[in-house]
Amino acid sequence: MGSNQALDIKNKEFMLIGGLLIIVAGLMAFFPSLNESDTTVDWISLPLVGFPIIVSCILLAFASQESRARKEVLAVPIRLFTLVASMIPLAISTALFFDWLILVDWDLMYNEYALEKEYVWIETIGVSWHVGMDGLSFPMVWLTTFLVPITIITTWNEKDGATYHPLLLMMGGALIGVFVALDLFLFYVFWELTLIPMFFLILKWGGKDRRYAAQKFFIYTFCASVIMLLGLITLYFLQPEGSGAQYGTVTGRTFDMTVLFSNATAYNMGDNVFLGKDMQNVLFAMLMIGFLVKLPAVPFHTWLPDAHVQAPTGGSMLLAGVMLKMGAYGMLRIPIAIFPDAVVYYQDVIMAIGLISLVWGAIVCLGQTNLKKMVAYSSVSHMGVILLGIASMQPIGYAAALFMMFAHGIISPMLFAVCGAFKHHYHSMEIGAMRGMAKWSPYLAVYMMFAWMASLGLPLLAGFVAELMVMIAFWPEYGWWILLPGAVLAITAAYYLWSMQRTIFEGGDEGQPPESLNGETPPDITLSENIGMIILAIFTVIFGIFPFIALGMMDQWTVAFFEGVFNMGGI
């Protein structure tokens, strides 16, 4: 049986990976609990952000100087080293996660940041290296640290590994940077920095149209983010001048988010509103454009299918798993926190964009014949849910958006891992090019079914919780519009099931391998793919059955956010 060979523990790599997991556990044991350390040690700057980026830069510089033949020899030690390096942030963030779960007194509240550190960076214009984590960013940070090693393992055998895997690591560092940045300038720097490794991942390891896709991806998102930057700069100069460590010596303004938040709160609560309503709205819209494109929301979504279809598996996994969430994260972090009135003003617009993304993404999915493209559009559809959560103006809706980010961050990498394995072993992406996958590749079939089911929101898997919460929050605000998200639930099921019917099922006793295999017997997935996917599957179940692990801090954060930003409830 082809299926059994995957379980043969003949592969040294298996033991190695197992060993590494043990190392993570071991490393975690050494990290002291936060209460003792949060004032002295900077757990974020170097270990979580700097270390991956620096290590990957060194590895890349090292590998790029080698000849082609040497590179192939070096690929194994380099990716092993990369994997170990990626485990260290994972160990740290997991230790922090446990700290949060066990030590209840550490609250990841809005505008109260854990492990906050601040170093002055560019004095003249008030830029500082200000990092910290709260209930919004922490789950995403953990997710990133979690996904990078998973991605490395899943795409263990990617060609040219000497540069591929370090790029993944660099990507992870930059993504974490986005999530921990508490300074607008720093945020923007990391925001753009994430583009570069992704650009190369698509460009060098992509499919046939990679040239077009890589450029489109870069330019499209870059265009959006410059508009966002203009909004940020305008906002920067609209704030009252001040003095202090965070303020620029020349401009008298600051990029420090925490200062901005407290200013926004202070000014909006009192009579002295420092920005006019329409000014708020304009700035809000400008910032949102950048984030909506990243999310992506219809009609700014067309870069995503191209990027996903062309990107290599690892790139897709990180792109869908974390990079899209940057959009949602950014929304919640900046425009919504600073312009709560504008959120109310644009509430219906956000709702409409969310609904359109949701419905349009799902419908287009149904019409796709390319497996990866379908999954890509399903991401568009799911990201619409986040907008609905935001538009609902309910803490539960916001918590749903947060949880959606998190859950989709676990599920969608699995979707793309399945697509990647499918492409890898069947040399085709066409839905319906073959039948009866369950016959040859039972593991792949199981993972595919699992991932598909998780994505269509089956209860007890991570995706359901968020959808339920969003619908609960949606109803009192928008009433019968709820039929549309409801219809999407059915359409989502339809396209997933239909695609499964035409790949996993059917085929008769003989089966119908795709033509692209030229009559060879299709193999099942490799051990590394298996390991990567099973870890993702396990976590999908864990967070589906025990959502409170992550939702706890999200709920705390949303409540604090509503009290702090919208001035609702409490106090």
Partner: protein
């Protein structure tokens, strides 16, 4: 603390099978094909059986404990989230917890579920493990089987509509997996998808209904809050009706009622134990359970405010009852007849529930309690009988398969294990006939089961069915619209008599229609056990009839008949000796229809004696003889009917499937394909146009750089002019 109670362990009932799922799956992957695994563990069947047995024992002790009292236990907090109340402006924490809740309804359904799961597990070991087509995948069957059982038991025990829904979906998943068990068959793949999607449509509405309910009841779906009469009275009943209506659509999907009924016949693609368990005995009852759960709302809500919904439920039930029965007339596939029968009987229960809800909402508490009891009792009877019927049919099919094997084996020695090259249909009744003598236990079970479904007096379904019809008519006397469902269920009674008899006579009476049918005989010991058990359950339904009147209706506190004998008396009164002359006549009309008219027609058309040397068991022989007599006497020629357009469209299942398929493939998928094109051509086209336009603009702009220095000077001069103009414009 008064020590731990049994209810604290109730969560184990669904949890055990749930944990067995990965165990079976993993061990199966690991040991698949090894002798121990096949012989001793029955490819996972024994592990499943142990889990199910443990669950059953726990369930029984729980039932014993809570026969007369409501119980609840909190298990864990799923998650908490916060809610901002626009009116008060405060943010409160809403808890989404999971717990166990037991009342009369739970007790009944828990018994049905745990009991049938266990029996069908036994049956499966006999059925699945001897079928060569299942090589290497039975562990998958058992894994999915226990997962399903976990879902069913969980749904019954859950203490909130939220978890009811979660388990409900879990069952849907298992149903999908098990229908698609033979994944390589296109028809199975299609049926699985169809089942999931159709129920999913209903589920969408169910979710919406739950969301509405959650909002109505200020952030909870827990039964103990929802069923509080004061809470219900405080809610706007119009919105409540909408919410409950939405939830009812979910029930329609799950219980395969018109118009979401199309998936159930196709679901027969799954292995027969699956049909027995999921698509007859348990999962399809989930919809009924959901509607039955709504009972407290109707009782406590504003008088008459929810009548519309009750009527709608009854009408949907009535329509489905007749429609499914009609289609069942022409089915040749043994399992499909049963499938339509299931649909029809569930429809009866819906009608009964509709009546009960109407009565409850209009203040007739006593009548409502009776109607409710009758409906639930019918649910019980039907589950037992239909589970049995399906298992019996499975037995027939299984043996037909084996017999076909033998026949084929004798015929061509060279390729004996290839049973797919010829197209013998082991499920078609056209290939059967005269099996009564060859499969006595099966035939008996089928006989009793059919009688129970038909409503032959004193057997199983009779007790409950007459109650439903009577209740429907009681409402119809008060509410004219109700005449429609009442009439339909009355007609349906006769139709049931016809198609069930037809099935039985075609299969078991007459001469064997094929060579295969002659070689059929019962062999494996695992199959008859559940058949025998269930036969006696069905025959002893009068015992439960007494109990239903005593315990299964209404609230425990206001139970009307606490003694067993009282219950039987009450039941008798309602069935045979109704004090209302109209209802009494009606009851006898119904009995007549189902007992006389339907079976007579069936006998006239399909009856016949066995082969000369064959003899059925005495309790069936009389029926066979009678049928042979009627058949000979009447000499019916039904070719005109068989060729009629109605028969044709009945063969085509009244075109529902065609229309739905066409709507799905042509309209929805067509629109989706168009959308995909629109997305790339237009939305992305805008981007591409910007790109190509800018390239074109670039080309044109660069064409201005002609290469001649004179032109550059001229442009400089022109630029100077422009600057002057701009400067003067300001100055």
């Amino acid at each position: 603390m008064s020590g731990s109670e049994i209810i604290d362990y109730a969560v184990l009932i669904p949890l055990l099978p749930f944990l067995a799922f990965p165990v079976i799956l993993f061990l199966g992957r690991l040991f698949n094909g090894t002798p121990t695994w096949v012989k001793n563990v029955k490819e996972g069947g024994i592990i499943a059986l142990v889990a199910m047995g443990a669950s059953l024992i726990l369930a029984l002790s729980l039932i014993k404990e809570h026969m007369n009292k409501v119980g609840a236990a909190n298990v864990f907090t799923w998650f908490e989230s916060s809610w901002w109340n626009p009116e008060t402006g405060s943010i409160t924490t809403k808890v989404f917890g999971f717990g166990v809740y037991i009342d009369h309804l739970t007790v009944m359904l828990l018994f049905v579920a745990a009991f049938l799961c266990f029996l069908i597990n036994i049956f499966s070991i006999g059925y699945m493990n001897t079928d060569p087509i299942n090589d290497n995948r039975n562990h998958r069957f058992y894994a999915e089987f226990v997962l399903f059982c976990s879902g069913m038991l969980g749904m019954v025990l859950a203490d909130s509509f939220l978890w009811l829904f979660i388990f409900w979906e879990l069952m849907g998943l298992c149903s999908y997996l098990l229908i698609g068990f033979y994944y390589e068959r296109p028809s199975a793949a299609y049926a699985a998808k169809k089942a999931f999607l159709t129920t999913r449509v209903g589920d969408v509405f169910l979710v919406i209904g739950l969301v509405m309910l959650w909002n109505l009841f200020d952030g909870t779906l827990d039964y103990d809050v929802l069923f509080n009469a004061e809470n219900i009275a405080a809610v706007d009943s119009g919105e409540l009706q909408l919410a409950l209506g939405m939830m009812f659509i979910g029930a329609v999907g799950k219980s395969a009622q018109f118009p979401l009924h199309v998936w159930l016949p196709d679901a027969m693609e799954g292995p027969t134990p699956v049909s027995a368990l999921i698509h007859a005995a348990t999962m399809v009852n989930a919809g009924l359970y959901l509607v039955a759960r709504m009972f407290p709302f109707f009782g406590a809500a504003e008088m008459g405010a929810l009548s519309t919904l009750a009527i709608a439920i009854a009408i949907i039930g009535g329509i489905t009852a007749v429609m499914a029965a009609l289609i069942a007339f022409v089915q040749m596939d043994l399992k499909k007849v049963l499938a339509y029968s299931t649909m029809s009987q569930l429809a009866y229960i819906f009608t009964g529930l509709g009546s009960a809800l109407w009565l409850a909402n209009n203040g007739y508490d006593d009548l409502a309690a009776f109607a409710m009891g009758a409906s639930l009792f019918h649910l019980f009877n039907h589950a037992m009988a239909k589970g049995m019927l399906f298992m019996a049919s499975g037995s027939v099919i299984h043996e037909m398969h084996h017999a076909h094997h033998e026949v084929a084996h004798h015929g061509h020695d060279d390729h004996h294990d290839d049973h797919h090259d010829d197209h013998f249909d082991a499920q078609s009744m056209e290939n059967m006939g005269g099996l009564a003598s060859r499969m006595p236990i099966t035939a008996t079970a089928m006989f009793v089961g059919s009688m129970s479904i038909i409503g032959i007096p004193l057997i199983g379904g009779f007790w409950s069915k007459e109650g439903i019809i009577a209740s429907a008519w009681k409402v119809a006397l008060k509410e004219p619209i109700f005449l429609l469902p009442a009439m339909l269920v009355l007609i349906g009674a006769g139709m049931t008599g016809f198609y069930m008899s037809r099935m039985w006579f075609m299969t078991f009476a007459g001469k064997p229609k094929t060579e295969v049918a002659e070689h059929v005989h019962e062999q494996t010991p695992w199959i008859p056990i559940p058949l025998v058990v269930l036969t006696f359950m069905t025959l002893g339904a009068i015992i439960f009839a007494g109990m239903h009147a005593g315990h299964w209706l209404g609230d425990f506190e206001s139970g009307h008949y606490t003694s067993f004998v009282d219950g039987i008396g009450y039941e008798m009164e309602h069935v045979f000796l109704n004090h209302d002359p109209f209802l009494m006549i009606l009851t006898y009309v119904a009995i007549g229809l189902s007992l006389v008219l339907g079976p007579s027609f069936a006998m006239a058309l399909y009856g016949g004696s066995l082969d000369g040397n064959q003899k059925a068991k005495p309790w069936m022989q009389w029926a066979i003889n009678l049928s042979a007599k009627i058949n000979k006497r009447s000499n019916f020629d039904n070719s005109a009917w068989a060729n009629s357009s109605l028969a044709n469209s009945l063969h085509k299942r009244l075109h529902f499937d065609d229309v739905y398929d066409a709507a799905m493939m042509k309209i929805v998928v067509g629109f989706a394909k168009l959308s995909a094109i629109f997305d790339t051509r237009f939305i992305d086209g805008v981007i591409k146009t910007i790109e190509s336009t800018s390239q074109e603009a670039s080309r044109r702009l660069r064409a201005l750089t002609t290469g001649s220095a004179r032109d550059y000077i001229m442009m400089t001069a022109l630029g100077t002019l422009v600057i002057f103009m701009l400067l003067w414009g300001v100055a």
